[in-house]
Structure formats: structure tokens, C-alpha cells
């Protein structure tokens, strides 16, 4: 009897949750469907769209007409590049703060976080002018530099919260056994730190891939990553639904897949450890 009631309740919750989930996901599903339709079919009513023929032509056209893969590659270089450089700078810093905490460690961490609170538009003018004078406008190098700097605080923080969880006793034990700092780093810490570093890497590639203030303002045609490329569809090109859908699907698919793997880390990374 009691079991029956719970099952009925579970069924109701199931239906409700699926309906809400599908409603929220629907726009993504819809562009996925439209991307496999011809331009003429894509603007018809939903029933006609679903009944029409499926085709790959939009994907081919997007690549032909606008050299899609150059923008895709720009996105890859910018997001992966800025993340790797960021990790290179942040790993030693986070390691030191987690294992050799000083009196001011907490202040340094908080100060780093405060740089993240700076609204980008507050420094838009100087960065734009500096980039113009240094020839960094519309270059991938320029964007790598900016994205490294704006994500550095998040990278340091995420790594710090992961490193903090590595028990200090293990280090002491290694030291007792006579391990040098180098050995300690290579044989004891690295294996334990790898999962945290991997999650940090993943989340920051996602953040950099989707960053849409600096990428829009500092690029024109040459170094434009996908965020800026898609923005070029804003008018009147955007009325070609099938092409916009194909371009969008390719732009979000890799990140969607990475994102689903990093759900848990997302909470920790974006709340700076305040919610775990």
C-alpha cells in the first residue's frame, strides 16, 4: 500500500520533471533539428518542419561561405591557450597558498577575487587603446592574454580549494621519509592534484569558449572566435534559420558535452568554494 503511494508520487514527479526539463532544453533541440533542414523548410510551421526532408546542406554551406573552421580553430586556440597559460601561472601559486599558508594568504586570495569583480566595461577604453597601439587588436595572442588574466583568479581559487583537501599529513610523512621538495612534488602531490587540475582545466575552457565581451570588442574578421562569428549573423543573415542553426550547433556541441562532464565542478568553481 505504502509502496503504491510512493510509486504514484514518483510517477507524477517524473512526468512533471521531464516536462520542465524538455521545455528548458527545447531551444537547443530545436536548433539541432533546424540545422538538418533546407532553408526553405526551416521557416515553415513546426509541424511542416518536422515532416520535411532531412539534409546536411546547411553544414556544407556554412563552411564554404564563411570558412567556419577558421573561427572554430580560433576558439580552440584562444580558450585552450588561455587556460593552459593560466594553469601554468596558477598551479605554483595555489600550491604555495594551500601548503605553505602565510599570514597574508587569505588577504591575497580575497584580493585576487576582487579583481574578478571589476566590470570589464570599466577598462574597455584603455585595453582597446593599448591593444591598438601594440598591434594586438584582432589577434589571437591579444585575446589569449586578456582571457588568461580575467580567468586567472578563478583558476587560482579552484585549484586552491582542491589542493586544500589534500591532507597535509601525507606531505609530512613523505618529508619524514626524506623526500626532497622535488620528489614530494612529483611523486606525492601531483597524482593527488591531477583530478582537481583536470576539472579546473575543463571549466575554464568552457568559460573562455563562451566569453562574449572581450572576444566581441577586440576582434574583427581575422581572429574572431565563434562567439563573434555567430554575432555576425545578427542581421539580416540570421533570417537564414538553417545556416544559423548549423553554425550554432557546431559552436555549442563540444562545450555542451564538456559541460555535462563538469557539472559538479561548476558549482565549486563559480561559487569560489562557497557552495560545495
Amino acid at each position: 500500500m505504502a509502496r503504491n503511494v510512493t510509486n504514484r508520487r514518483k510517477a507524477v514527479v517524473t512526468v512533471l520533471a521531464w516536462l520542465v526539463g524538455l521545455a528548458i532544453f527545447f531551444p537547443i533541440l530545436w536548433i539541432f533539428i533546424l540545422s538538418f533542414k533546407s532553408e526553405g523548410d526551416a521557416i515553415k510551421t513546426p509541424f511542416e518542419v518536422l515532416g520535411s526532408a532531412w539534409t546536411f546542406e546547411s553544414y556544407a554551406t556554412v563552411q564554404e561561405r564563411s570558412n567556419y573552421f577558421r573561427h572554430f580553430w580560433n576558439s580552440v586556440v584562444i580558450s585552450v591557450g588561455s587556460t593552459l597559460i593560466g594553469l601554468l601561472i596558477a598551479i605554483p601559486a595555489a600550491w604555495a597558498m594551500a601548503f605553505v599558508p602565510g599570514k597574508r594568504t587569505k588577504d591575497v586570495l580575497m584580493w585576487m577575487l576582487s579583481t574578478k569583480m571589476l566590470p570589464p566595461v570599466g577598462v574597455l577604453v584603455p585595453i582597446y587603446l593599448l591593444f591598438r597601439n601594440l598591434g594586438l587588436l584582432d589577434t589571437r595572442l591579444g585575446l589569449v592574454i586578456v582571457l588568461t588574466l580575467i580567468n586567472l583568479p578563478i583558476i587560482v581559487w579552484m585549484l586552491y580549494t582542491y589542493f586544500k583537501e589534500i591532507p597535509g599529513e601525507i606531505l609530512e610523512a613523505a618529508r619524514m621519509d626524506g623526500a626532497s621538495l622535488k620528489n614530494e612534488l612529483i611523486h606525492v602531490l601531483t597524482p593527488m592534484a591531477v583530478p582537481g587540475i583536470a576539472s579546473t582545466l575543463l571549466l575554464n575552457i568552457i568559460l573562455a569558449w563562451n566569453e562574449a565581451f572581450w572576444t566581441l570588442n577586440l576582434t574583427a574578421a581575422k581572429a574572431a572566435p565563434l562567439t563573434a562569428f555567430i554575432a555576425s549573423y545578427s542581421s539580416p543573415e540570421g533570417l537564414f534559420y538553417a545556416k544559423l542553426s548549423a553554425a550554432s550547433t557546431m559552436a555549442i556541441a563540444p562545450i555542451l558535452i564538456m559541460g555535462w562532464f563538469s557539472q559538479k565542478q561548476l558549482v565549486r568553481g563559480l561559487t569560489f568554494g562557497a557552495v560545495k
Binding site: 531551444p27 587603446l129 562567439t227 563559480l270 557552495v275
Partner: protein, 290 residues
């Protein structure tokens, strides 16, 4: 534990990160501050001169500033309201046992990973377009007049689009917080005869309070800087109907080349963001000690 040598090594390891961030903060910030007191337009090179508070006076008395400030408040407030209330309800729903929990969770989180330009353009063209958009098709199906969302209610439409992007974030964080709630406490309350509503208001909501505050503060930081969504949908218009502070400053600096005025606006934006940041920092700092 830490020896003098290891402390020196630690300082050496921290310094690259600190120096880079210090440079990133001080150089552009002092330039913004300096420019904000100059008459400096890129279209009139060589005419730069010190003008005192003029840029600030012009920026703050411009009717567009009042409109943009108001739009910013509506945008941030509207999205916060929708995402925290919606996120709490969604988290409560998804915390219940049901079939396919993992898949629904994936579906709900997805919008957060869609880049802003894509989500804004998809909503604008495929859904809100008054001729071929999905909403127009649905309206016509029921014999109604299609509604031109972005022309009639530009700010409301943008609030809707941005809410769709941030609802997953709020849901995910609140769900995480909800799952750390002590189940025994809930069961004990149920045994004592507490109804679903009082269980929610007296046990769950207080437990969620911290997470809700974190959601509000972090989202505020990001929402103050909403830019791409406005750029690709309305360009801030019609008029200044959907211009927020970020977009106004962008227009002034990069479209009108008014470096001085744009910089003064930038300083104002920084001050406003700092007010929020102080509260957020305090919360996170408290957590660091615990």
C-alpha cells in the same frame, strides 16, 4: 612546519600570479581614471586637454544615463527574481526521486553552456521573430495576432533570454545545497506532523539562505555586465529602451569614439559594481575562515 626556505619559495611561486593581476588592475584602471578627466575624442586627435569633472557632469546628467541605470536595475532585478524563485522550485522538484533524474538534470543544465551570442540569436530569430518565429506560428495557429517581442517589449524579452541562460546556474547551486540537507531532520519534522509548506519554510529555506545569497551576488556581478545579448538582439534600442550601463559605455567609447566620456562612465560602472562586490567578498571571506 614551514621553514624559512619554504616560505621564500612559496613567495616566489605566488608572485607571478600576483604581479600579473596587479598589473592587469592598476594599469588599465589608472588609465581609465586619467582619461575620464580629459577631453579626448579619437576623431579629434591632438586636441586632448584636461577638463576636470566635465565628462562626469555630462555622463551623469545625460538622460540616456538615467534610462540605462534604470534598465540595468530592471534587467538585474528581473533576472534575479526569475532565476532564484524558478531555481528554488526546480531544485525542489529535482531533489525528489523520479525516473531519469540524471538525464533531466543534463537537460536543465544545458542552457548555461550555450554561448551568449547563440542563445540570444536563437531566441530572437527562431522564436521571437514576428513572421517566421515559433511563437508567431503558435499565435497564428490559435488565430491570434503575432507579437513582435523585441520591438514591443525589448527589455522584457532580453530579461527572458538572460533568465533562460542563468536559470540552470541557480538551479544547480540550489540543488547542490539542498542535497546537503540533513534528511533525518526532515523526517523528524514530518513525524512531528509538520506539513510540506512548513517543512519548506522552517527547515529548507533557512538551509538554502546561504546558497541563495551566493547565487544572487554572483549573478549580479555577471548580470551588471550583460553585453552580447543586447548587441545581437536590439542594439540597445529602440532608442535607449534596452540599453544598459555596459552597453551605453560601449557605445560612447567605441562607436562615438568619446574616450573621455566613456572612461567617466567606466568609473561610474566600477563604483556601482564595487558596492555589490563588497557584500559578496564578505560572504566568501567568512567561508574561508570556517
Amino acid at each position: 612546519m614551514a621553514t624559512k626556505a619554504s616560505r621564500a619559495a612559496a613567495r616566489l611561486m605566488i608572485s607571478p600570479a600576483v604581479l600579473l593581476l596587479l598589473g592587469w588592475m592598476i594599469v588599465p584602471l589608472s588609465m581609465t581614471l586619467y582619461f575620464s578627466f580629459l577631453r579626448y575624442n579619437l576623431l579629434m586627435p591632438g586636441m586632448e586637454e584636461f577638463t576636470g569633472w566635465t565628462n562626469y557632469r555630462f555622463f551623469l546628467t545625460d538622460p540616456a544615463f538615467t534610462a540605462a541605470l534604470w534598465n540595468t536595475l530592471l534587467l538585474v532585478g528581473g533576472v534575479l527574481l526569475i532565476t532564484t524563485v524558478g531555481g528554488t522550485l526546480l531544485a525542489l522538484l529535482m531533489d525528489q526521486p523520479f525516473w531519469g533524474q540524471g538525464i533531466v538534470r543534463i537537460l536543465v543544465i544545458a542552457p548555461f553552456f550555450v554561448m551568449p551570442t547563440v542563445s540570444a540569436l536563437v531566441w530572437k530569430n527562431m522564436f521571437m521573430n514576428p513572421v517566421n518565429g515559433l511563437f508567431a506560428h503558435v499565435a497564428k495557429f490559435f488565430g491570434l495576432q503575432p507579437y513582435d517581442f523585441l520591438a514591443q517589449a525589448p527589455l522584457g524579452s532580453i530579461i527572458f533570454i538572460v533568465s533562460w541562460q542563468w536559470l540552470p546556474f541557480a538551479t544547480l547551486i540550489l540543488l547542490t545545497a539542498l542535497q546537503s540537507l540533513d534528511q533525518e531532520q526532515l523526517e523528524a519534522a514530518e513525524m512531528d506532523g509538520a506539513g510540506a509548506l512548513s517543512r519548506f519554510f522552517y527547515i529548507m529555506l533557512p538551509h538554502l539562505a546561504r546558497a541563495i545569497t551566493v547565487v544572487i551576488l554572483i549573478q549580479t556581478i555577471f548580470l551588471l555586465s550583460v553585453f552580447a545579448e543586447i548587441l545581437v538582439t536590439t542594439n540597445g534600442g529602440p532608442g535607449v529602451a534596452s540599453t544598459n550601463l555596459t552597453y551605453l559605455i560601449y557605445m560612447q567609447s567605441l562607436l562615438q569614439f568619446d574616450v573621455g566620456g566613456g572612461s567617466a562612465g567606466g568609473v561610474v560602472a566600477i563604483i556601482l559594481a564595487n558596492i555589490v562586490a563588497i557584500f559578496l567578498m564578505r560572504m566568501i571571506g567568512k567561508n574561508l575562515e570556517a
